[in-house]
Amino acid sequence: EKTRKGFVTDLLEKLGDDPLTPEVLDDLETLLLRADAGVSATDQILESLRTKLNEEVVEASEGLRFLKEQLVNVLEKPIKDSGADLLSPQKGCLNIWMLVGVNGVGKTTTLGKLASVAKRSGFSAMIAAADTFRAAAVQQVKVWGDRTGVEVIANESKNADPASIVFDAIGASKSKNIDLLLVDTAGRLQTKNNLMEELKKIRKIIDKLAPKANVESLLVLDSSQGQNGLRQALAFADSAELTGVILTKLDGSSKGGVAMAVASEAKLPVRFIGAGEKIRDLRPFNSFEFIEALLTVR
């Protein structure tokens, strides 16, 4: 990637200690909107900067530091509230991580990457192939199982009941003393009530069969998505009892600004980012880096 320059750095160079002018605010607005931050969030952010401007003469550097701090805080709040800076399975008990989300966002790929991290960090892992709907979904998961050397529990028969696969997988995880069970679910749009009900059913099975397990219900969010991302977060939070978010496809040109709204309105911590299709292209989420990239012009 050629010359990606931090917007903030760029601005600072241009402005020096000159006050934050209305023109700069306009540039900022463009930047935030183009990053999919959304109109409301952008208005709010700019409003608070304007207020600051009216109260005192703000130097550019000070104003931008203030802005960055605010943005980082939005993302950090749910992380702090969760009590865990970094998400990782706990040793000595069963952890169940279920990946949910709309179609094509990267659930299965992320699951493969997570299986790989788990193995590399010394956890035993197992995969439940609970997408029984998509054509060749099971074959796709199995490729990831082979790549990571993780066992896949599946039922190849067409339209098998996903909840029953999760049932089987929890049984197998218990008997083999598995640390981390990863559950792949079919993509579903949040407006499909019957499919959202199916998720509730899966959650019920998990809670019933493994009441002591550490359950993470993670929404996979495609960073190229726009404002619909927030609706997804709110709906899945309801049906799948979400505990966090994974942002994918950040290797693209999208900034994933909708994550800001998801963090502030759905109060969900972002846990990992996906930045590529390869097995190693997964990283823990870092708010500072994310905001720095968000405020970067191509």
Binding site: A135, Q190, G252, S253
Partner: protein, 306 residues
């Protein structure tokens, strides 16, 4: 219909309260509301700006007939302009005189290319055509299996080779087979790629050169955000598209990408995807899309489905 839209745009309509016509002075506040609605619908910012400027010119000086208030008239102008930009009537799929017609699918990862390939295959089959699906995604795990499975579902033949071959070679061999065996349409499914991935975009160009398609369809997820503009521009400049398919419109995304795609490439959106099943493909109707983008919901499409 405009009443419903007028409700949506209550603030915009209020801007004209008590005034008899749309003027330079009173149009600004209303345009602000439209800008907001378009951004909420994920229309790309540059496209929003252009569109607003055009609407301003059209709206100011519009004769307002007695009995209709300027607010309603304004919404009507906005809606009409949206429909105009998105292309008026529905555009059909290319049908070349020299058979087979070759259709190439392109787009980002997970947009819905493979599904759309099968959907188009079914559509053609139902029109008594003889399509061949070509599996030229050698990257994604089980991509070939996916197309083969879908091919079985719709009872249309799928051409596939080992994933060790280059996609352009597979595409070319698929085309040869079609010519030899009398298939009248070839649909080439390709791997998802980012528009900023130079190698993968280069590969797309090679696939195109290998099969000389009559149609290059950019498949775009309707939930996409601001990058719709850049994606369209890049795919159009580097590969050259002839149209687009907008997918996953069975959800509640507003689908502002439709406006961005059309405005930036000048190419029509030909179909919309409205479900995961192979039957869930419909022609694109600008009128309905305009209402949807403005927040009226896709009422008509839903009615048609029921």
């Amino acid at each position: 219909m405009f009443e419903e839209l007028t409700n949506q745009f209550e603030d915009a309509v209020k801007a004209f309260k008590g005034e008899a016509k749309i003027s330079e002075e009173n149009v600004d506040e209303a345009l602000k509301q439209v800008r907001r609605a378009l951004l909420d619908a994920d229309v790309s910012l540059s496209v929003v700006k252009e569109f607003i400027d055009e609407v301003r010119v059209k709206a100011v000086g519009t004769e307002v007939v007695r009995g209709i208030d300027p607010g309603q008239k304004f919404i009507q102008v906005v809606h009409e302009e949206l429909v105009n930009v998105m292309g008026g009537e529905n555009d059909p799929l290319a049908n070349s005189e020299e058979q087979p017609t070759v259709i190439l699918m392109a787009g980002l990862q997970g947009a819905g290319k493979t599904t759309a390939t099968a959907k188009l295959g079914l559509l053609l089959k139902e029109k008594n055509k003889k399509p061949l699906l070509v599996a030229a995604d050698t990257y994604r795990p089980a991509a070939i299996d996916q197309l083969v499975t879908l091919g079985k579902q719709i009872d249309v033949e799928v051409f596939n080779l080992s994933s060790n071959l280059k996609p352009e070679e597979i595409a070319k061999k698929g085309l040869e087979k079609a010519k030899n065996e009398g298939f009248d349409t070839v649909l080439v499914d390709t791997a998802g790629r980012l528009q900023i991935d130079t190698d993968m975009m280069g590969e797309m160009v090679r696939i195109k050169e290998a099969v000389q398609p009559d149609e290059v369809l950019l498949v775009v997820d309707s939930m996409i955000g601001q990058e719709a503009a850049d994606i369209t521009r890049s795919f159009h400049e580097k590969v050259g598209i002839t149209g687009a398919v907008l997918t996953k419109l069975d959800g509640d995304s507003r689908g502002g990408a439709a406006l961005s795609i059309r405005k930036i490439s000048g190419k029509p959106i030909k179909f919309i995807g409205t479900g995961e099943k192979v039957e869930a493909l419909q022609p694109f109707y600008p009128e309905r899309m305009a209402s949807r983008i403005l927040g009226m919901g896709d009422v008509l499409t839903l009615v048609e489905k029921a």
